[in-house]
Assembly symmetry: none
Homo-oligomer: 351 residues x 2
């Protein structure tokens, strides 16, 4: 980086560690911190060796409730670098820092619009932010701080979106907190239902409830911290649900209800949400016995291809299993030919 | 096929045409029918030439509202083959056919649990049903009819799931119709909101609203036809939403609300209806180079442990990767010790 060479990231969860990974790849020395020493040690292992002395940039990647502790650390250690936070609510950190005049000029509240339903340092990825929007509210910051924040965000492949902290909190209530609550609400209905019913679930239920698997501790905090912005939206939802219940047998009403959802869905911009990683998927049917996976990876190594991801599907008692490898498209073709010629049951790759 | 050589499929949409494609690939002669002559002709082109004379098997692949017309055709033409329907609601077709004693013995209500958010003959795929559950209610059918239905479903790669029609309708209200309505409800909230807010949308909103893009005409029918089973579920949802609104600032309540969703989500079985299993997860940081995965599996083989699942996390260009193995808890401990003693960078297992 031109404007910073060392960073201390406080918070070794998914977001903090992903930032650390991306920066360390670019030659920045990164110190990972966490109250949880296990998380800190995994994160530090992943990002490599830390710097010595004062960091040029301090990033708070803890939940909103932990932010006061981070501010305390920054002050106690006399850290004089630029100070950025990346928590998902922006008004509260901004107000907290405004009480410390020596900090406020070099503080920028920011929020990378990226995440996964799995948390923790183990789930971190250096490309988590690529193509994503990254909201910053630089209204109170110095020009120097703004330059560093912009360089950080750009280096991580994200796009700077300037937005007032309060407006940000309204926007995320709609596009992030509501989906979480609705997914949890729906998934909550599945508890205690017959296994034979749930066994029929297809992609619709899986997708709609995917984020219901998110971390309760994290979301308890986000929801209660942003309840002021969420509540009016929930009340509109309640109203719409009551209308649906009252008109469930009215074909015209139901059709218009589905059309309204279609229009809302279509209003989500296409590409802003990020470069989807586009892999080619190669299905391989295997005998479900020990050693098969190792053998597949031996084939990958000898074909010289790189596996980006894979999934394993097999049912108890079933004698075959399905391995689906995710690769780039040329590797998929290469591996498919290689494995077919070695007698594997490889099916056609698909996008 | 052993028990049938010719099929007439009435309804040339996604499901009907996908069945036709899969059967014609297996040498069965398939006649595609549709009130929409364009759909019929595309579908027939896709499946190849039709048979002459009486079909051995008649498949109704029209929406529930069109089923009476199909029954009329079967009777008028004196079709004497086995008669199967594949619509998404099962009680109503069963009741309709029960009025025709000459039909009921050779009629089987069925429902393949497969679909796409795009419809029409053009979207048909022969592999649409592979690995999917296919519900059948053979309680009123003859043994001969049951054999043909089973052969059909098995030939298409799906798994036969016997379930009473009424129970099926309750199950799909929960696992298919509720997700649709909830996705539409949420997506409907996005209408008219600032583009700058929607531009921040990430995968959570996209996944949660994906099926809101579904066909309003199709869903108008499914929802109104199955409203009796959907309504009680919507009322529970309403009740839960009211509780959330009343307790949005209560940290304990919100956390429990998210936990309830997590539990519901976890109750969805793995693919093929397999029981969800609880694994111990073992994170291993590796150099991201060919051969590392195979080496890990060699270690697993020499430690004598069995890997149930695994995930790979690494970013393009990153020099380390993270492999997380899923094992049973004793294997996790065994493997962890084995790999540590062989110099691998293994982190603490977690549940």
């Amino acid at each position: 980086m031109n404007s910073f060479a060392s960073v201390e990231i406080i918070g070794s969860g998914l977001i903090g560690t992903s930032i650390g990974l991306a920066l360390s790849q670019k030659g920045v020395k990164v110190a990972m911190r966490d109250l949880d020493t296990r998380a800190e040690s995994i994160a530090q292992d992943l990002v490599g060796s830390a710097h010595e002395g004062q960091p040029d940039l301090i990033i708070s990647a803890v939940p909103v409730s932990g932010f006061a502790g981070v501010v305390k650390r920054v002050i106690e250690r006399n850290f004089n670098g630029v100070f950025i936070d990346v928590a998902s609510i922006k008004s509260k950190p901004k107000v907290e820092v405004s009480e410390y005049p020596m900090l406020s000029e070099r503080f920028i509240p920011t929020h990378p619009m990226a995440g996964r339903e799995v948390g923790g340092a183990e789930s971190a990825r250096a490309d988590l932010f690529e193509g994503r929007a990254w909201v910053i509210d630089s209204s109170s910051a110095s020009a120097g701080a703004r330059i560093i924040a912009t360089e950080l965000i750009t280096a991580l492949g994200a796009q700077v979106v300037e937005m007032d902290s309060r407006e940000h909190d309204k926007a995320v209530a709609l596009i992030s907190h509501m989906p979480q609550l609705v997914a949890s609400l729906l998934a909550g209905q599945l508890q205690g239902k017959p296994e034979s019913w749930l066994g029929l679930a297809g992609g619709g239920l899986r997708d709609t409830t995917r984020i219901a698997a998110s971390d309760p501790g994290l979301w308890r905090e986000i929801v209660t911290q942003n309840s002021e912005e969420i509540l009016p939206l929930l009340k509109v939802l309640l109203n719409d649900l009551q209308s649906l219940i009252g008109n469930i047998d009215d074909e015209k009403f139901v059709e218009e209800f589905i059309v309204a959802g279609q229009k809302g869905r279509a209003a989500i911009p296409g590409k802003h949400g990020g470069k989807p990683r586009s892999y080619t998927y190669l299905p391989i049917v295997i005998d479900d016995k020990p050693g098969q996976l190792a053998a597949i990876f031996d084939e990958c190594a000898s074909a010289g291809v790189n596996i980006e991801d894979l999934s394993i599907e097999h049912s108890p008692g079933q004698e075959t299993g399905l391995i689906t490898l995710a690769l780039n498209s040329s590797d998929a073709v290469k591996l498919s030919e290689h494995m077919k010629s070695h007698g594997w049951n490889v099916h056609s790759p698909r996008q």
